[in-house]
Symmetry: C2
Subunit: 168 residues, 2 copies
């Protein structure tokens, strides 16, 4: 279940993020302003702007999949400044996620996960997903959504959640 | 793992939400404005205000735990207008969540979960958690956080994530 909670759901959320960025671009065209205004918007002066929210959402997904599967994640140097560049960042992240399979997660639950800023401390794979990766990706996708909505882009909860796999 | 992804983590997130509301109250005292101004703030005119974000975060947690465990959730009629009332709503939700145990989730994964607006369609317990309950609770807690931050409350990612269960 650790795989289902992460890789496919992260692909879906990044896809949804890509679609709401398009809706931002559409508003920019309609209202005749540069879409970069949206990309550089933020909700408060000392919070990250939309570009950075997208970058961190991508990195959260990419690094979670890489750490739990042992696969090497593509490197990105956070140089995106335009909408096509930002959409390409999302596309490259999704392409990497699609190379990771449930079988790659065979040892994921008990793996020790750490990162430099944790100063030698670690979380198990399960703890890392539940307490860190999952809350973080939703935080950054929601904040991106909020920046767009705050600036007049007409999006709603359905754009955030995406399709639900309903059965009859 | 379905239990660990939901009940204890929802308790933690609602506790974190309670703490950032307190920080909002602290700013209101310092800057001498009514805390109700924050409670009625929103990021865009046609989005829910802070009170409603908190109510929905609570309901998402409560209903997920109730649907998956079969336990009856406490009824709330969304009448909260003041900070003490809103904090009480969170406290009652946490108290209910604490009555739900991992053993109560024994059939949760394959249970069929539905709600009136889904018009007879359903999700399995696993799908409901991954595609609906988890993305929703983080959405509403993050939006509450963003409303506070947008209005000058000094909070950061650590307030949102809370304590991580680090090991050495």
């Amino acid at each position: 279940m650790l795989f289902d909670m992460t890789v496919p759901q992260f692909i879906k959320m990044l896809h949804n993020l890509d679609l709401i960025l398009d809706k931002g671009a559409q508003l920019a065209t309609e209202k005749k302003f540069e879409v970069e205004v949206l990309l550089n918007s933020r909700l408060t002066p000392n919070q990250f702007n939309l570009i950075k929210q997208v970058q961190i959402a991508c990195d959260t997904a990419k690094l979670c999949a890489a750490r739990l599967s042992g696969k090497e994640a593509p490197v990105h140097n956070d140089s995106e400044k335009t909408l096509p560049e930002l959409k390409n960042r999302i596309a490259e992240t999704i392409a990497f996620l699609k190379t990771v399979s449930a079988a790659d997660f065979k040892d994921a639950e008990t793996k020790h996960i750490s990162q430099p800023r944790w100063e030698g401390k670690y979380l198990t794979g399960v703890e890392y997903v539940i307490h860190h990766a999952v809350p973080n990706i939703y935080f950054h996708v929601t904040t991106a959504y909020s920046i767009l909505r705050h600036n007049g882009v007409e999006i709603g909860k359905k754009d955030y959640l995406g399709e639900l796999p309903f059965k009859k």
